[in-house]
């Protein structure tokens, strides 16, 4: 069985997280753009006489499918590499996965990773 580890991180930490995961042995991942809302506040913009606040902050989402037993370590690796210690560093969470398939071959399960 496998897990899906999802991390929401600061965009400029992506490179380091990717390297750290690769070093750990992860061979694939999926990355996408997101916006975060949290303790870290957005900013204020002024548009010709009107002021408004933007409370969403650019983030990057990383998703990694891993074998059950690797989930805690992978979580740790992401947390470690993404951490700057400042508010807004993000979250990592783990969700159970019931089946995985590799599209190219149709393989299932752990072999599909």
């Amino acid at each position: 069985m496998t897990k899906l580890v999802t991390g929401i991180i600061q965009p400029h930490r992506l490179d380091d997280v990717k390297s750290a995961l690769e070093a750990f042995g992860v061979r694939g991942m999926t990355v996408s753009e997101a916006s975060g809302y949290g303790r870290q506040r957005g900013h204020t913009e002024v548009y010709r006489g009107a002021e408004y606040t933007v409370d969403l902050v650019p983030k990057v989402r990383i998703e990694v499918l891993v074998a059950d037993e690797d989930a805690p370590s992978v979580t740790k690796v992401i947390v470690g590499a993404a951490q700057t210690g400042k508010i807004g560093d993000g979250k990592v969470w783990v969700v159970p996965v019931e089946d995985v398939a590799r599209v190219r071959t149709g393989e299932h399960g752990i072999d599909a990773l």
């Binding site: 913009e45 548009y47 006489g49």
Partner: protein, 443 residues
């Protein structure tokens, strides 16, 4: 009369430059709206180019510069309909020359003014107006508001130096402070009121979706404005040179005026502010380009930039949704320029030892222009509201007018719109696959 090739060359260029201003405006405005309505915004300018460009050669020139003035208000549209009547082309088809310039060149030059003036108004009703109504509006407004004003100010009509006010002092409108900017700005105000506010006005941000486009638009406006102002000298001479330098200097100062004002008030000097400051400076110098010294132009630009930066907030105070600040920039800076001539004109301005007469006459023509433009626009706008209607459906407005009205989105979004391919072609044959099309259809 003899042809002045240098002058003609310069006027051909000037006309080209002013023509480019309308697409420049389309980018300036287009970048300023949200991504879901950029095409509609640009189409209002391109639509005006289509309609006014044709209308001008049909009856626009005749109504503006024809010889048969109707009470100083406008000229007979039929006299030179389609540029006939012998004043533009002689019987044998050759071009008539006046003051060294083929009249047909002047027709081109003046047509570009008509186009941009109408297009300017569109910024007030961004994101929400029916395109068909807008197209009809352009034809009506240019005919009923623009051509008459051009006649009045430049065609020897009521507000010209042949009109009644000229007894106080000769009114000065070098390149269109009243005809173009006050006229369009006032129309914008009326239209914004008649058309009504966008859904979410004053609550949702509605920020510019593409500021580099806005800056590009401002740059093309600046570039084109050299034709607008220095071309209005009708000479390739020192006056054109003065107008050129004044125009550029006022634009530069407009940047500084706007940026300083918003830096003090908001803490940031924005790129939208820089682009807006350019336009404010250029608008203000338009009526004054030939009447000020370069230092005077710098002062005027500075003031216009600062005043417009403050004025764009008025719409929130008074609750009219002049979406892209046509009022705050064109009406306000147009008034600033027209009126400050009374102080800054090197010949007759108060600061240069002139009497108060010039100031009075400038204020008067500004006022008359506002009233006339406002009244005519109101009639047209209400008539269209009652007949064709002005607003797209709320769903169309929320979902984006580009898709709803024009059937297009401005940008391809992968995983978004460019995805389904059920292209229904007229008779697309089974399309025998070329050599390179065999693979990937695996499985």
């Amino acid at each position: 009369m003899e042809l002045d090739a240098g002058l003609t060359a310069w006027m051909l260029v000037s006309a080209s430059l002013v023509l480019l201003m309308t697409p420049g405006l389309a980018l300036f405005y287009g970048g300023m709206v949200r991504g879901k309505s950029v095409l509609n915004m640009m189409m209002m300018s391109f639509g005006a180019m289509g309609v006014v460009g044709v209308v001008y050669v049909l009856w626009g020139w005749s109504m503006s510069y024809g010889t048969q003035s109707v009470g100083g208000l406008f000229a007979n549209p039929l006299e030179q309909f389609g540029l006939g009547g012998g004043e533009v082309f002689a019987e044998d088809g050759t071009a008539v020359i006046a003051d060294g310039l083929p009249v047909i060149v002047d027709v081109g030059f003046q047509a570009t003014f008509a186009i941009i003036t109408v297009a300017l108004i569109s910024g007030a009703i961004a994101d929400r107006a029916k395109f068909g109504t807008w197209m009809v509006f352009t034809a009506l407004w240019v005919t009923l508001a623009f051509f008459p004003m051009a006649h009045m100010v430049w065609g020897g009509g009521l507000l010209s130096d042949e009109g009644p006010f000229a007894s106080i002092a000769e009114p000065v409108d070098f390149a269109g402070g009243t005809v173009v900017h006050i006229n369009a700005g006032m129309a914008a105000l009326v239209l914004a009121l008649v058309v009504g506010r966008r859904k979410g006005f004053g609550k949702e941000p509605m920020r510019p979706h593409n500021l580099p486009l806005v800056m590009l638009g401002a740059a093309l406006l600046w570039f084109g404005w050299f034709g607008f102002n220095a071309g209005s000298a009708y000479g390739a001479d020192g006056l054109a040179g003065l107008a050129w330098v004044n125009t550029s200097t006022a634009a530069s100062a407009g940047i500084l005026g706007w940026l300083i004002t918003e830096k003090i008030r908001d803490g940031h000097a924005t790129s939208l502010g820089a682009a807006s400051g350019v336009v404010a400076g250029l608008v203000a110098i338009t009526p004054a380009a030939g009447a000020l010294s370069p230092v005077g132009a710098a002062a005027l630009g500075l003031v216009a930039g600062a005043v417009s930066a403050l004025a764009v907030g008025l719409k929130y105070r008074f609750g009219y949704d002049d979406s892209l600040d046509v009022v705050g920039v064109h009406l306000v800076a147009g008034l600033v320029g027209t009126v400050l001539i009374g102080f800054l004109a090197t010949d007759g301005g108060l600061f240069y030892g002139g009497s108060v007469n010039l100031l009075v006459v400038q204020a008067l023509i500004a006022l008359v222009a506002m009233v006339l433009s406002g009244a005519v626009t109101l009639v047209i706008a209400l008539a269209l509201k009652a007949t064709m209607g002005w607003r797209v459906s709320e769903d169309a407005e929320v979902g984006g007018i580009d898709l709803a009205v024009h059937g297009e989105g401005a940008y391809e979004t992968i995983g978004g719109r460019v995805v389904d391919s059920r292209t229904s072609l007229p008779t697309a044959p089974a399309a025998p696959a070329p050599a390179t099309r065999t693979t990937t259809e695996v499985k």
